[in-house]
């Protein structure tokens, strides 16, 4: 069963990189372009061990490869940040107390859009779905300030669309990014 949840880009008139912390969007129909239809360039592919040091190396390499491919600094950084958040989630949750195996990463480019595909054989997402949109409450005393809980908000805010499905013991996450704004 798949769950597809778009980010904010399709539901705001402004550029998704406008960075305004607005309300989380209502769900919309699945994005048929994740993964891309028609030919796309495989810009980056790797298998990365789900631990922070390996993730850092993979994210850095991905950003550099995108620049070589011709992406501008903002687009490469957008992809790197989303990739970092998603891989950190896999490391922290999918493989918690589980023997790690490498995570497959592919980044494709087509007509200015970037398509990330991440596949891991860790635990499924709780409830078989992406987490509900939320931001931690900041109206708290300093001692109670959150030290996490922003990852999915960042990904949803930066992505045009997200798709998660569990198939054959594998988590498959696909993300479409449009660094230049809504497609």
């Amino acid at each position: 069963m798949s769950r597809t949840l778009p980010g904010t880009a399709q539901h705001q008139a402004a550029d998704p990189r406008a960075d305004r912390p607005g309300p989380d969007p209502a769900p919309a129909p699945p994005d048929p372009d994740t993964p891309p239809r028609g030919p796309s360039a495989l810009v980056f592919a790797t298998r990365v061990w789900p631990d922070p040091s390996a993730i850092r190396a993979a994210v850095t390499a991905c950003e550099a490869r995108l620049r070589t491919h011709g992406a501008d600094a903002a687009a490469a950084r957008l992809c790197a940040l989303v990739l970092a958040e998603l891989l950190n989630n896999v490391a922290e949750h999918a493989f918690r107390d589980l023997a790690p195996v490498p995570v497959e990463v592919e980044v494709r480019a087509r007509r200015g859009s970037l398509y990330l595909a991440i596949a891991d054989r860790g635990r499924p997402m709780p409830g078989g779905a992406l987490p509900a949109p939320c931001l931690p409450d900041l109206a708290v005393a300093r001692a109670d300030m959150p030290e996490g809980g922003w990852g999915w908000h960042l990904v949803r805010s930066l992505a045009t669309s997200l798709d998660y499905r569990r198939e054959d013991g594998t988590n498959r996450l696909r993300v479409r990014l449009d660094p230049q704004g809504p497609a």
Binding site: P21, R56, L81, N88, L135, R142, E147, W150, H153
Partner: protein
């Protein structure tokens, strides 16, 4: 992680010499901040001019560093690069920290 420090009359400036604060360095960053701020002055200024990548793990480490301070201590951020400022803004954490564009302004703010 090695952090550089600079002592002023009424503030301790802590400068991050690395370009990333992420999951790979979050714990070391927190530990280094705790050691440096434990016996320091009330004002701590974290200079992030060299940092051009921060993810939610790095953000959490900065928050944790603030929570490690004494009740009378404050942590303000200085010279955020656009990429880092964007992450703070998207998570609304720019409402939690005082953020200064440069060190001169940050130091002056403490004296006014």
């Amino acid at each position: 992680m090695n952090l550089d420090t600079e002592s002023h009359a009424d503030a301790l400036v802590i400068r991050v010499p690395e370009t990333r604060i992420d999951a790979a360095s979050a714990i070391q960053f927190k530990d280094a901040m705790r050691r440096l701020t434990a016996s320091g002055p009330d004002r701590v200024l974290l200079d992030l001019a060299r940092v051009d990548f921060i993810d939610s793990s790095g953000l959490g480490a900065v928050v944790a560093s603030m929570k490690q301070l004494r009740p009378d201590q404050t942590l303000a951020l200085v010279a955020l690069t656009p990429a880092v400022h964007k992450v703070f803004h998207m998570t609304r954490m720019d409402t939690v920290f005082d953020i200064h564009g440069d060190l001169g302004g940050a130091l002056a703010a403490g004296r006014s």
